[in-house]
């Protein structure tokens, strides 16, 4: 039975294996000739990339949480209009690295921006759009931070604003995403990460088979 195009997001801390498994998921779909598009946030469009560069610039110091929120959702709306919705309309599945759950986690739980404010801006910017499915890579914050933020992982680039956050921040972010997954169990598939990559991949593949193939 042909599936209607699905909008699937991958969420988790940097270093959780999220992006690696997204690439593998794309290869797996490619081998099966299943039409899909791979994209990512923040950014995902030329305008979004330009905004991301402004947003990550260390010169501004701490940016007010609401200002950050308005920029994030401006970029997200452009991404929906320019990339995600056209792909779905063309019959392609969309695999997206991070989406609004990351905003709830980082700005909401991490930085203390009220979740109600996030939902209000989301309603204005995207109509409260939800992905069809979300794959959450869960890993203790300490492990994710060690893996995601080593100088080698950063490829030698200098530390940006987010890298400067402490472990407590990442712990709140992880708890925030987990809380979101508990509120929407139908949408989320939680994948335990941090062990052998093959073990993680089997969980990812099983979820994809359920969502896209069966």
């Amino acid at each position: 039975m042909p599936q209607s195009p699905q909008f699937i997001t991958f969420e988790g801390l940097d270093g959780s294996g999220k992006s690696t498994h997204l690439r593998r998921a794309s290869d797996w779909l490619e081998e099966r000739s299943i039409a899909h598009v791979v994209t990512h946030e923040p950014g995902g469009t030329p305008l979004g990339d330009a905004l991301r560069a402004v947003f990550l610039d260390a010169r501004w110091g701490a940016i007010d949480g609401t200002v950050e929120l308005l920029l994030v959702f401006a970029s997200r709306r452009q991404h929906l209009l320019e990339v995600i919705d056209p792909a779905l309309a063309a019959g392609k599945h969309v695999l997206c690295d991070r989406f609004t759950d990351s905003t709830r986690a980082y700005q909401g739980y991490g930085r203390g921006v009220p979740l109600a404010l996030i939902e209000q801006v989301d309603a204005l910017a995207t109509g409260g759009r939800r992905p069809d499915h979300t794959m959450l890579f869960d890993l203790p914050a300490r492990s994710a931070r060690a893996r995601g933020h080593s100088p080698a992982r950063r490829g030698g680039r200098s530390a940006d604003r987010l890298d400067a956050e402490g472990l407590g921040f990442y712990t709140r972010v992880r708890q925030g995403v987990a809380a979101q997954a508990e509120r929407e169990p139908e949408r989320f598939r939680v994948v335990r990460s941090g062990g052998r990559p093959e073990t993680t991949w089997r969980q990812v593949r099983t979820a994809l088979e359920g969502w896209l193939v069966e």
Copy 2:
């Protein structure tokens, strides 16, 4: 009698004399040793200037109205937090070249973004903040466009996205600002521009005397 610090905005089409008379107003206050700060939108802060550069970049083509709105209000909130509110808290008057009335005029009346949406984003970003007083420089759109958009006025810079708009757009913008002034006659002082600069300046000075000196 010492006045509490006042937040005064200058509105009108480019070429209406708005910015010239704002500079003259600042000189006039300076001569009287009346503490004040001069600022402007869009931009007005380093973050805002960076966003403005992104926003004006002709590469993106037509930007979705809601995306534009989110960027404008992100910049405006930063401007309030970083420049306008600290100046008022320090006992200084603020003279600001353009503010939310320009958003209502250009994005709302000009580009057709629903005014209700503008007010919703404004409520989230600024709490619906209104200036204490607004000086509106009124001039037929054709004259403003001829004066504001000649290559000489642009100082040789290449045309940006806004310069590409037609006369119909500027006519709607002018009508929009006039409608706003009719809704809030207490806040607005409409100054007829386009005649002799001294005639315009006398109207500006009279308004300033009423707001800041008497």
